[in-house]
Structures are given as C-alpha cells and as structure tokens.
Amino acid sequence: MTQGPTPTREREAVLKVEGLRIVLDPSGVDIDDDVSLEIHRGEVLGLVGESASGKTTVGTSLLDYQRRGAKIAGGHVEIDGKDVLAMDAGALRTIRGGAISYVPQDSSASLNPALRIGTQLMEILEVHGFGSSQADREARLAQMMAEVLLPSDKQFLRRYPHQLSGGQQQRVAIAMAFANRPRVIVLDEPTTALDVTTQAHVLDTVRDLTRSYGVAALYITHDLAVVANLADRIAVMYAGRVVEIGTRDELFDQGHHPYTRKLLASIPDITGERALRGIPGWAPRPGQRPPGCAFTPRCDWRVEKCSEAFPPVEEVSPAHYVRCWRYREVGAQRATTDHQLRDKSLSAPRADEKQVISVREVTAYYQHKETLHDISASLSERRCLSLVGESGSGKTTLARCIAGLHPHKIVGDIEFMGKPLARDARGRPRATRQAIQYIFQSPYSSLNPRKTIAQILSQPLKVFFDLSRSEMEDRMVQALEQVALDSSLLSRYPDQLSGGERQRLAIARSLAAEPTVLICDEVTSWLDVSVQAAIIELLAALQRDMGLSMLFVTHNLALVRSISQEVAVMNDGRIVEYGLVDAVLEDPQADYTKKLLSDTPTV
C-alpha cells in the first residue's frame, strides 16, 4: 500500500508547530531549537534522527508535557488553530487522550499492571465522556479492539497486561490512543521492542487507522526503514534541529542534506546490492553541540562556512526544505553514487572448508523446559554464520551453549576443532576459553560501570597472557586502535562513552584475548541504525583481516547479507532453513523464512 503525496483536498494542517524551543531547565542549554512542522489530515509524518537528537522531546511537547529537567522556552504548538502551550491544566487534561494522544516506546511500562485491560480502555472513554451511555462506550470498546485486530470478548478484556504478548500490549496502547478519535497522534518508536513480524502488524494497524479516521500522525523513529512504507512525509532531525523535511519519495530519492544521505546509506540492504556504511562518530548531546551546523564534524561536504553559522531554511521544491550551505551540490549528486557495491566474492561457496565449531543433535533446556530441539550446524574457518530468528527462537541459547554460558542441561555434541567442548566455560582449558570470545547484546550491561576502561581491557590480558606492565599497556592501546577508539580513553569509565563506543570497547575486550572464534549476540540491537552500520562495518573488516570465524546472532534478516556468508534461520528452537546467504535470501524454501523476509522493513 503505497501512496504519493497527500491529495490537495486534505491539505488543511491539523497540527502546526512553529519555532519550538526546548531547553534544559537550570542551565538553559537547548535540546531542541527552531522546530517547525505541519501535519495534515490523514497524514503520517516520520520524525527521524539518532539518539540525543531531541525527537522524543519534540513529540511530548506536542502534548505540552516535559520530563524532569526540561522546559519549553518558546514557540507555538497549534491543534486546529488552538495553542496547546497556552492552555491551562484543565484544558490540557481534556485534550490529552482526547484531541491528541501518545503511544509510548515501551507499552509494557505504560499500561497499569494492576488493572485489567478492559478497565483501562474503558477508563479513557469515560474520562473523556465518550458517547452518551455505557452502551455507547461498550460498543466503541468492541470496535476499538477490532480495529487493532484483538479479540474483544469478555475473557480477553479481563486479562492483565502481563498476560499479553509484547505485540498485543502495544496494540492495546494503540487502541487507547485512537479511543477518542483524536485529531493528532504521536507515536514514539512504538515498535522498537517488537519482533519484525509483530512490527509489521503494528505498522499496518497504524497506517490503516490514521488513513481511515483522518488523523494527523507523528511517527518518531531512529530507523528510516521503518517509516519508509508508512510516512507520507519525513522530517530529519539532527542535534535538536530539523535539517530536512519533505515527501518520502523526495527524501529517499534526492535528499539534499548530507545527513539524510548518510542515514539512508546506513540502512541494511536486504537485496545485498550495496554495502552498509555507518556514520562515523555520534550525534552530540545538548551542551556538547559544535557551533554552526552541528553535523559539520561528521560531514564529508563540510567547508569553512559550516562551522561558522547555521544555514537558513532553503526551499528545494514546494514542501521540501533543507538547512545546508551546500544543498544544491549535495542534491545534484545522484543518490546511487552514495552506494558502494558489496563485495560478493566472499559469499561464494568454498571447497577447502575446515570446521571450527560443530554442533550435532544438540537439545538444550531452560530449567526443565526444552528450548532447543535437535540442532545441528557448523561454523567453518574464516567464515561468518548468521543465526536469525525472533525472540524466543533459541538463537541466543544456541550461542550461549557454544560459549559455555548456558547454565542448564544440554544434550548432544558441541565440538571445537574436532574436540568436544565442556558445557561450562570454567570447565574448558584456558586455550579454548581464549579462542572462543563472546560479545554481549547490551554494552550497557556487559561493561562494569565501576571499572575504568583500562581495568576492563586488562581482564582478558591478565587471564590469558603473562605480560609486563608496559606490554599490557601496549596491548590495550592496540586493542582500542583495532576498534577505532582513542587510547586517551583508557582512564575513563564506560558511562562516559556513547552506546556505539561502548560496544566497540566490548569488541576490543574480546579482541584483546586474540580469539579465533567470535560470537556476536545481537550486538547492534541497542544501537541506532547509523551506529549499527558502523559496528557491522568494523566487525566485517575484523573478521576478514584477522581471519576470524564468526557466529553472528541477530533478529534482523536485513543485516545478514552485510556480514555473513552463511545463515541459519531459527524458529521455536529449531533451525528451519540453513544455507549460503544469497541462496537463502533469494530463494527461501521455508515458509517461516518467506514470512520473515516479507515482514522485514526495507527501503
């Protein structure tokens, strides 16, 4: 379902934001500045940017709500011509959940765990006085549930939030947001915590509801691919400012801001035609933003002028605006030249394959429940095998079994270089523990916040090598260089790093052990798309240059081509499809793979 620009008869702006400025409270440092947007009836505007770009703050400001430590310092937000920011508390209560509603990122945290979902849904209708009788409201409740494709029988409505799946919870939150037929709806990354198939359902629901009720929707996300098929127009934010805004097609085909171009290049390409390219560095936080155009330090197009003054708004075409000094030159370059072709030679089958890790008929349990059923797979020398599946598919369990980190019962054979591996990492010889290194999903959890980066990096060095102080120092600097981190960071703590830098540090820690096998467990799922691309580039280069064998666990099928040569698709603790990446993705055999492919958002 693709639609072009919104037809003219609907071009009445429901939501108008003008010159919105939001600052940190005591310091007055701006989070967002000069944000102006318009959303029309039945239109979805995608608000896209990296973490710390201030997009969530814009979203909640539309409801005149600010989290602790921030306040609105200027500008207007108008819904149907009424200024929201000028309203008193009573008027705000009426429009929140009435004329404008909000769908949060994590609905499991926003639904009241002590109330049945029927009670919660009915509450929002009652508070806003929907309909004239209880019967009206009950009819509306049934209709709401039908709209989001959930059952509306008594039994379902009597459930508590924890009795629903993540996708169901998010759909309840969406039903709530649409309950009083709002004029404007703000969706703040409502699918980040969901699996791709669930995400596809939720996106369909949002699209259908906004169109059929003529709601103006703001969809906030860091992932351009998610809004590619949903949004009519897209606004790109960087460092608290809208740097480009235009129709989806214009932005995707002919983006005029270097940042838009770079964001596009960092979206994993499921077709495998182009290589993934990350954006070096990270989006600066409020208070750390450079003068002039904040993107200057990361921009390939920068000239002297860029760091002197922030560029004015330029009109590229009607309804397509950009803020870049060199937008004409950027726009004139054909979009395709941004794409580097992927090196396909690596993914061809090879004859001389030596198996590094082989898993035969492995069944694993979590406590007493069987979670992996009869798995057989192998990892060849200098190759990368991707394990793909949704949450609960057993991909992480399999990876942990190989790493010796699954503290429950395992039946079957796991071999490393032809020798059986002990179940528990502690039971393995030092050389084996050194050879197989594991990188964890969340760099926020895998690095001890009480240790300096030097202490973190010294861990494997102390365990695996007998080094003098100066040798140790050299190795640490070397490890940091391999992941493109500066050696001056050694005395810092992990919380002084950005998410991407933390994950690089985790990779450096594993590399310091000089492994031959690297197991990467969802290493990019906590990161922005732009940072994800940079991490994937790094891992692919390391694997190639150091001759590592790599097991890459992910839920994102689109990433698989950018990094691996072989893929195993997992579902419900079984491998449903296994083979060379190009073969599996171009001609999937299993129904599950086909479904996963069709649900994965692409550009």
């Binding site: 940190l24 310091s27 989070i31 973490s51 710390a52 770009s53 201030g54 703050t57 989290r67 602790r68 921030a70 990122q105 994590d106 499991s108 993540g166 990354e189 980040t192 915590a193 860091h222 936080r285 409020p286 750390q288 979590y366 979670t371 949450s391 992480t396 369990t397 790493a403 010796g404 980190l405 990492a425 502690r426 393995r428 030092r430 290194q437 594991y438 964890f440 999903q441 969340s442 926020y444 959890s445 895998s446 690095l447 001890n448 916040p449 009480r450 300096t452 861990q459 494997p460 365990v463 810092r492 703590y493 002084q496 998410g499 052990a513 969802e522 799922s525 906590w526 922005d528 839920h555």
Partner: protein, 307 residues
C-alpha cells in the same frame, strides 16, 4: 530468556557528563556526599561526633580518678566539687561518665564491622552461587534470625562466660543474617548483568568475581546497613553491660553504671540518668546518619534511573 530490545533514549535529557580528571569517587563516596546534603545527616553526625569526643577526650578532662572515693555514696551534686554528685560507692559520677563511653562505642563498632564482614561474605556467596548453596546457607541464617538478638547473645554469653571478645563476636554474628539478606538481594541483581557473565567466560576465579566485580556495585546499600546495625550494636552492648556481662566493676561503663546505681535512683538520679541519656542520644545520632544514607541511596538510584 533474551532481554527485550529497548533502547536507551533518555540521553538527551541528561546533563553532559562532567569529567573531573581521571579518578572518580566510588559509589559509596557519592552516597556519603548525597547524604551530607541533608540536614538530618548533619545533625546525626554532629551528635555522634560530640559523644565520641566526650568518650575520647573525657578521661583527660575528668577531675578525679574513676575509682577514687570523693564523697559518701549517693551524695547530691555539689558545684563545683561534684557536678553530678557521687555514685553507690562514692565515686565521682562526672568522672565515671567521662571514662565510661569508650567501651560502648569501641565494642559496638567492632561488633558491627565483624557483622558486616561476615554478612557481606555470606550475602555475596549466596546471591551469586544460588541453588543448593544459597538454599542451605539462607535456611541456616533463617534459624539464627528466628532468635531475638539479645536472647541469642545471652545464650552464648551465659554458656561461655562473660568475655569482652565473645560479646563482640556474638553481637557481630547475630547481625550477620540481616546484613547477608541485604547483600544477597543486591548481589542477585548485579550478578544478572552481563559483565559478570563476561568475567565467567574468561574463566576468572569466582572469589575474584565476587570481590572485584560485584562488591564495588553494592557498597551503597551496605553503607546504609552499617549505619543501621551500628545503632543496634550500641543498644545491645549497653544492654549486656547493664546485665553484667560486659565490663566488670570497678571499670567505668555507661551500661554498667545504670545497673549499679539504679537502687539509688530516687535519692541520686544522675548516675543513672546521664548514661541513659548519652546512650539514647548516641543511638539517635547513628540512626539519623543511617536514615540520611538510606534516603541518599534512594535518591541516587532515582537520578540514574536504576531501580
């Protein structure tokens, strides 16, 4: 099993990190600083410091020797000769008050330190090991916990005789289960994190994981527990002295003084009243400190979003 992929997106509201050179205070120092901002903590520290000062400098200020007979028993105060009168044996009460604080404070501190060391060790082991080790140790601790602390202490002291070191050890041991519970709960939470898994994958020794990786992350709740247990230790030690199991006569000791002089409370209340007040005020002081630390702990957790 796998964690949901919820990305941290609050960075935009966090004030930029200020880097103070390279060293950074540990977690417990931050808690102390936070606690110090509160009025209650300052009052608590003031009280505690004043009473410790009396106990430490007191003997040099005392007008007489604690065992010197200065007047007939239970003589009323005579200013400036005897500010607080004399006790049941005719000793100067002010002198004995100035001498009698050291033991209570020292023994209470020693007992608390022993309790903390034992409790933390047990808590770390049970929280990290889980399964049968956790089960068996915690059930044993539950048994210890079932006895009121004073009963448990009296039991051992009456069997083994009133020795000072024994009292310190027993009071410490009787604190251990409560401290162990706090340490265990904190350890359970921290040992879920992946940096502990990472250390396991490297094959780092278990005790090193406990003391190098986990302990630094749980210091703040332990600090609060230390303050709280210190209050209880003071009460217990004083109670044991009162019952005659602590310092033996003719030594000067606040708990003992209350007991010795209670028969004369109607004619000469000061030798009872002053030690009672001092012990009471001391525990109020330590309690205020513990309370301030507890509030600071919650405050710090709220600010960093850690639950």
């Amino acid at each position: 099993m796998s964690t949901p992929e919820i990305r941290v997106n609050d960075s935009e509201l966090v004030e930029p990190v200020v880097v103070h050179g390279d060293r950074r205070p540990s977690e417990w120092v931050m808690t102390l600083r936070e606690a110090w901002r509160m009025g209650r903590t300052k009052i608590g520290v003031g009280i505690f410091a004043a009473i410790v000062l009396i106990a430490v400098v007191g003997p040099w200020l005392a007008p007489y020797s604690p065992t010197e007979f200065v007047a007939p028993p239970f003589t009323a105060p005579e200013i400036p000769k005897m500010w607080l009168g004399s006790d049941y044996l005719g000793h100067d009460v002010l002198t004995r008050v100035l001498y009698g604080g050291r033991t209570v404070i020292l023994l209470a501190l020693a007992a608390t330190v022993i309790g903390l060391a034992l409790g933390v060790t047990l808590g770390l082991i049970t929280g990290y090991a889980r399964r049968w080790i956790d089960e068996s140790i915690m059930r044993i601790l539950d048994v210890v916990l079932a006895f009121p602390q004073i009963v448990l202490t009296l039991l051992f002291v009456s069997i083994l005789g009133p020795r000072l070191w024994l009292i310190v050890v027993i009071v410490g041991v009787s604190h251990a289960p409560r401290i162990a519970r706090v340490a265990r709960a904190a350890t359970l939470e921290v040992s879920q994190r992946d940096f502990v898994r990472a250390a396991e994958a490297f094959g780092i020794a278990r005790w090193k994981i406990l003391f190098n990786e986990i302990l630094p992350s749980i210091t703040s709740p332990l600090l609060v527990e230390f303050g709280l247990r210190l209050t209880y230790s003071i009460g217990l030690i004083a109670a044991l002295s009162f019952l005659g199991f602590g310092m033996q006569p003719p030594a000067a000791d606040w708990g003992l003084m209350i007991n010795e002089n209670r028969i004369g409370i109607i004619i000469q209340p000061w030798p009872v009243l002053v030690p009672v007040l001092l012990i009471g005020i001391l525990t109020i002081g330590t309690n205020l400190i513990a309370d301030g630390l507890g509030r600071a702990l919650i405050g710090i957790e709220r600010d960093t979003g850690v639950q």
